[in-house]
Symmetry: C2
Subunit: 316 residues, 2 copies
DNA sequence: GCAGTTCCTTGACTTTCGTCAAGTAATTTT
DNA sequence: AAAATTACTTGACGAAAGTCAAGGAACTGC
């Protein structure tokens, strides 16, 4: 089927790019920039920003504890970092760049910039701008791709965190205000009656959404929220599509939703994603517009039933 | 000045992307995919396609002769490659993957595909297509950026190669035919009277173009050629901008050119790049349209005088 | 307050990577 | 045909990277 072929082509394009990019720039940036330092130490120096706990560093760089310990000792001997104990837990140690370390790091960055600049300087301004645009867009979408969508127990602490953030925001934006009591209860979403999805960026919740059965065949989408710091990446759309897929999996053929007139971005999103305005179908006092989208009919995007959201970690 | 700021922003965007991309996927693809093999051997296995001479391999991977020798011995012991002597010069040796080696390589590729697919599968089809589009565009532009533009002696073998390829193509496309004798002579382009630029992709000529003085302040652009295998990347535009910069450097304020009515792509390029059609200014029998562009006036692109083409190797 | 954990350091390796120099066989130059 | 050069292998070694286990100090849970 055609969507499978499309997927193959995407994978191929991604891999081609990845190979080309690492071959072209990866080599340079690694070897070159480390000054006279072994790669491991250079990488460490580069990764060090604010004062960091060794544990976090170890997790980030996936490095053996012993190795890290020795590398830091070497950097300390060169007076590039300062090690101290964490006052809160004196087993823990904290690394920090010294002034000299910061200078070295700046020099590293400068060299990396230089390599990038030499590459870019070959292009006339218009094409350079095109490249920058493409890379920025690609980065935004990659960032979006690594955000994990997971179904969550609506009674869980994480779900509550998302819903509270959502309610707080609505309270600020709706002229009439908004109360946590206006939300669906966990009970109304639990097994059989609906689903709750949350989006995690590096294990921190940055979005959510719920579907629940409205009548046989028809689901209602509610509480679509994207945290302020995660906006502009397309997460709203991704959540929307994933919620539609959940609805389809629950056996529905149509999704409806109601929204508030002040939520301009959301209204735009629904319109762009194939939703059509329909007459009022609910009595929710916070709703002024109602939308609907068929899950199987023709729309501006491929059949969402084909898109299977990953349940569980994406990189596990 | 504003163009400098733009450039900084481009460098920053490039570096941001580079960092993010290598952190996100580079690590995975290196570590993971090599199965249980050391990185060097995995890389070697990956790089081996057709039967390859060791010398070429050494040059490509920038690896010490001794190291390569030992790595290949290790791979041979695992029956992944076959070593034989080059019949033409029996000092030379040639590596080739065995059937088993090819299987291993395919497995490596499959894993890489899997990683890519897992990442991409998080995105709904529309956003996946957007990402693929952005990456494809970025790759095209990166490829374009590493094509080197060099001024060449128009009498050199490489220049002659380009011009012959250009003439051959015109001969096939023009109904009236085209002769090498219709080209400018090296003499007409040599020092003081004009400049000849050639584009090299990995040291192979893939395009060219010339400017020469038509009258004080006015340059003529001629013989703009892009090899068939390098088309679609934007090289025509890059050459055009570089030739304009050369003209500006020679002290001209205007560039003119004439072209043949069958050269649709070229005509489109000139139009997109700020050229306006003007009345006939030359008697060249192969020309049907004439164009002109001021080098200092306002145009759809920033002042080309700001863009300094790199003379000499870009990664030197 | 004591056993069990956690966080980190140290010691004792092995493997891999990278470099130099000596050596051998084939080829080219003189 | 001898000398020089080229293409590769082999030996020797040092530095870096990676692994495992033992141990000490600080914290946690009962």
């Amino acid at each position: 089927m055609s969507s499978h072929l499309t997927e193959r082509a995407d994978v191929t394009a991604f891999r081609r790019f990845s190979r080309y990019f690492t071959a072209r720039t990866g080599v340079l940036s690694d070897r070159y920039l480390g000054l006279a330092r072994p790669l491991g130490q250079a990488r460490l120096l580069f990764e060090l920003g604010e004062a960091t706990g060794l544990g976090e560093l170890r997790r980030r760089l996936e490095i053996d504890a012993g190795q890290l310990s020795r590398m830091l000792a070497a950097l300390q001997a060169q007076r590039l970092v300062r090690l101290s104990r964490d006052p809160a837990d004196r087993r823990r140690r904290v690394v920090e760049l010294t002034a000299r370390g910061r200078r070295e790091r700046a020099e590293q960055q400068r060299r990396a910039d230089e390599v990038a600049e030499r590459l870019l300087s070959a292009l006339p301004p218009e094409q350079r701008a095109e490249l920058t645009g493409a890379l920025t867009k690609a980065e935004r979408l990659l960032r979006l791709a690594v955000i994990e969508l997971r179904p969550l127990d609506p009674a869980s602490a994480e779900a509550r965190y998302c819903l509270t953030a959502y309610a707080t925001e609505l309270a600020a934006r709706f002229p009439e205000g908004f109360e946590v009591s206006d939300l669906l209860t966990a009970d109304q979403l639990s097994a059989g009656r609906g689903r709750f999805l949350a989006a995690f960026e590096e294990e921190r919740p940055v979005g959510c959404g719920a579907v629940r059965t409205l009548q046989p065949g028809v689901a209602e989408l509610r509480h679509l929220w994207v945290a302020a710091q995660a906006r502009g990446a397309g997460l709203g759309r991704r959540l929307l599509r994933a919620l539609e897929a959940e609805a389809a999996e629950l056996g529905h053929h149509t999704v409806r939703l109601g929204t508030h007139e002040v939520l301009g971005e959301a209204i735009g999103l629904y319109r762009r994603c194939g939703y059509r305005e329909i007459p009022r179908y609910s009595a929710d006092p916070h709703n002024h517009l109602w939308f609907e989208r068929p899950l199987t009919g023709p729309g501006p995007s491929p059949d969402p039933a084909v898109y299977r959201p990953a349940h569980g970690p994406a990189t596990g």
